[in-house]
């Protein structure tokens, strides 16, 4: 009971902090922090599924989030008709080669017995498919990128509702996780870490450089929204009458209203995933996962297939991260490949999980809120600190200028220190994993 009282207090303090930001800065700022906190919490839940349930170290959270982001763009943007007209046949051939390669590789994988021959054959098929793609598809990409490069220069998406992209982003991330996990799980735990580090760098490189697909560093702006636009709200009657009744300014309230709509959407997803995770953790499956995590050898002796379960949990966690990545791009309204930084998307999420409490879903959610809140508020705080520290120096003192300019890099150091301190002095986190069985 004392434990749960403490946990409720943590969440109340967090709510208090957000209310304080709302009162002191503005409700707009507070709500945008809340929205990103909600998304961070979902990502942290995904990492917690991998690390907390199964002890898998995924250093590629960034890549899976980026896949989700790409899905959001591909699902929601309208197709670029000119590009399809100019290069539709080429794109169809490219897709055909791609699908044929994937199917051939899968058939070989299913039909042949496990062994080096099968691996070699699958590799061979992938290499041939890649070369064919390069030969037949390369001219097409140039054509696509030439179609009105300033505004489009890519194929566009499918023009479907962006909400659909959340599950699709999850599936995409899950599929990549399956391939990576299939190869590296069952070997030393470090190999998964190194392989995920690699795949995430590659995914982000693809997003940055395949202009025909994602416009690369030119970004895709103006993704359709799942919620109303401020302008439309400000001219709609029911909204104006609502503002009148509340006695607020329609312009500021419209942006708050939009953020609230997002918050409700995100909260729904968070609660759904949290509920599912909690159910899974308390089920026989969850107990088995923890048994495997705590002692692989004895779990194996009990007849549990450790590698298969690891693969399963790795894919599940990556799906959750992919969903969160799609949600983040939805909130931003644009796909910005250069914004995918390992610090922001991999490392920060890890700090959230470890500070919050590995193995405890509520801990991961709390960690997501706390760390994101301080991540955002650390910058003004750091600048202020530097200002105070250097207040004795002349305004144009080079050391002072250097220190103030470098305040942003303090974030890296602070987050590293928080991770090291939490890992050492509070390895179980703010809300520790509960080992008691609920009857």
């Amino acid at each position: 009971m004392i434990g749960s009282l403490r946990n409720v207090t943590y969440f109340l303090i967090m709510a208090g902090l957000i209310v304080a930001v709302g009162q002191m800065q503005s409700w707009n700022v507070a709500l945008s922090i809340v929205n990103l906190c909600l998304i961070s919490s979902i990502m942290a839940l995904g990492v917690n599924i991998q690390w907390g349930y199964a002890g898998l170290f995924n250093v590629g959270v960034m890549g899976f989030a980026a896949l989700g982001g790409m899905a959001a763009m591909l699902v929601s943007m309208p197709p670029v008709k000119e590009a399809w007209a100019a290069a539709g046949s080429g794109a169809a051939i490219g897709l055909l080669i791609f699908v044929a390669t994937a199917v051939a590789a899968l058939v070989v994988y299913r039909k042949l017995a496990k062994g080096k021959l099968r691996t070699a054959l699958v590799m061979g098929i992938v290499v041939i498919g890649y070369l064919l793609l390069r030969i037949f598809f390369d001219p097409t990409t140039t054509t696509i990128e030439k179609v009105n490069p300033a505004a489009t220069g890519y194929l566009g998406g499918f023009g479907l509702p962006i909400l659909l992209s959340w599950p699709i982003g999850g599936l995409l991330a899950g599929a990549v996780a399956w391939v990576v996990g299939k190869i590296t799980l069952g070997l030393r735990s470090d190999y998964l870490a190194i392989a995920t580090l690699g795949i995430s760098e590659i995914i982000v490189a693809i997003l940055k450089h395949e202009d025909w697909l994602t416009r690369g560093v030119k970004n895709v702006n103006g993704l359709p929204r799942p919620v109303p636009y401020e302008i439309n709200l400000q001219s709609s009657e029911w909204f104006l009458s609502l503002c009148e009744r509340l006695g607020t300014n329609p312009v500021t309230f419209s942006s708050i209203f939009v953020k609230l709509c997002y918050a409700i959407l995100f909260l729904t997803v968070l609660l759904l995933i949290l509920w599912l995770s909690e159910r899974a953790l308390r089920s026989p499956w969850g107990r088995m996962m923890r048994a495997i995590r705590d002692n692989e050898v004895s779990a194996n002796a009990m007849g549990k297939n450790v590698t298969a379960r690891h693969l399963q949990v790795f894919v599940l966690g990556s799906i959750v991260v992919g969903i969160a990545g799609a949600m983040l791009t939805t909130l931003d309204g644009q796909l910005t490949p250069s914004s995918y930084q390992p610090l922001r998307f991999t490392f920060l999420i890890w700090v959230m999980v470890i500070v919050g409490g590995s193995g405890n879903n509520w801990g991961a959610v709390l960690g997501g809120f706390v760390i994101w809140f301080f991540w955002i508020e650390a910058e003004p705080l750091g600048l202020w600190l530097m200002d105070v520290l250097t207040s004795g120096m002349a305004v144009d003192n080079p050391l002072r200028l250097h220190l103030i300019e470098s305040a942003a890099h303090m974030r890296l150091m602070t987050m590293g220190l928080i991770l090291l301190l939490a890992l050492r002095f509070s390895p179980r986190g703010l809300i520790p994993e509960s080992t008691k069985q609920k009857v």
Partner: protein, 338 residues
């Protein structure tokens, strides 16, 4: 035309062989550090890339200091003079990180994955310190002569239309690599401390039983790792340029090199470094000009004939890594257990 194949060879030597040898030496030195830490401390040190950046930062700072005092090495870069001082500083900070971070988990006999996470924490602290002190931008600190052989001189000497140029930094990289590797192998195979390190790596319990001091072994390992990281990082910085984020990205090829060779095996790390460097450069090189030389007649290649764009050079390390994990998880030279 008889000179066409010769031109083709010169072209490949200039754009593939020379850069790959230099890059391979840098990766080999980096991978040696990773593999040593893995062999003795039994975890993959994610902070190694940033240790390289950290050591290089000190090399740059000392270089600037020496330059401001008017000290230089004539045709050789001043950085060589700064290197020993940088190694001392880097080793000091790495030992501090061991004292405050890793030792605790060693005493607890924590799981290797905990060490890996701790090393990620150390990585970010080091990364933050580097960016804080020297900034996230490019720094060029090479001075002295730029070339051993210029392309123009080579062309005049041989009468070919393709030249081979070798930069001083590339020459220094290879020479330093050979000296460092020879010294390291002498140390590991001939000295008492080196032998105790190998014993500790092979069988920790037996080593402890025969009276080897584990703290000393760990300390020497960290000093060696810091020295290798500083040398590798400084050579890479001299050859290309110093940018903190690039060093973080070097982590993947370095790990790939260490795993390809067999984690924990120093000889494997060197072989792995060259395997990765040569694959990366041969796969991302555009063979258009080369093909135009060797294919007889008036045929001209219409594409770049590049297997993979240089934007995806990290994919090469990654794919080699996956291939090794699929076919021979212990690496080419048998490394530690899987």
């Amino acid at each position: 035309m008889l000179s066409e194949p010769l031109n083709a060879m010169a072209l490949l030597a200039n754009f593939v062989l020379v850069p790959a040898v230099a890059y391979g030496s840098q990766l080999a030195l980096g991978a040696l550090g990773v593999t040593l830490v893995y062999g003795i401390l039994r975890f993959s040190n994610f902070a190694h890339g940033d240790t390289m950046a950290f050591g290089t930062m000190f090399t740059i700072l000392f270089t600037w200091w020496f330059q401001s005092m008017g000290i230089n090495l004539g045709p050789l870069p001043t950085a060589l003079l700064a290197l020993p001082f940088a190694i001392v500083m880097c080793a000091f900070f790495v030992l501090l990180s061991d004292r405050f971070v890793y030792r605790f988990y060693r005493k607890q006999r924590a799981d290797p994955v905990i060490f890996v996470i701790a090393s990620v924490g150390v990585m970010f602290v080091m990364n933050g310190v580097v960016r804080f002190i020297i900034g996230p931008d490019d720094q060029n600190f090479a001075d002295g002569e730029r070339f051993i052989i210029r392309a123009r001189d080579f062309k005049q000497m041989t009468g070919l239309s393709e030249g081979i140029s070798i930069k001083v930094s590339q020459g220094i990289t290879v020479v330093t690599m050979i000296i460092v590797v020879a010294a390291l192998f002498w140390f590991l195979n001939k000295t008492r401390t080196g032998k105790s390190m190998r014993a500790y790596s092979d069988n920790e319990d037996l080593a402890l039983l025969s009276g080897i001091n584990p703290d000393r072994v760990v300390m020497v390992t960290w000093i060696l790792a810091a020295a290798l990281a500083t040398i590798a990082g400084s050579l890479y910085g001299l050859d290309k340029s110093f940018k903190p984020f690039t060093y973080f990205q070097l982590l993947l090829p370095i790990f790939a090199a260490a795993i390809v060779g067999g984690l924990g095996n120093p000889l494997g790390a060197i072989a792995g470094g060259f395997v990765i460097a040569f694959s990366e450069i041969t796969v991302t090189y555009a063979y258009k000009k080369f093909a135009n030389y060797i294919v007889p007649g008036d045929w001209k290649a219409d594409g770049l004939l590049q297997l993979l764009s240089t934007n995806y050079k990290f994919a090469v390390s990654f794919i080699i890594l996956l291939l090794v994990l699929l076919f021979r998880p212990t690496g080419i030279f048998k490394g530690k257990s899987v």
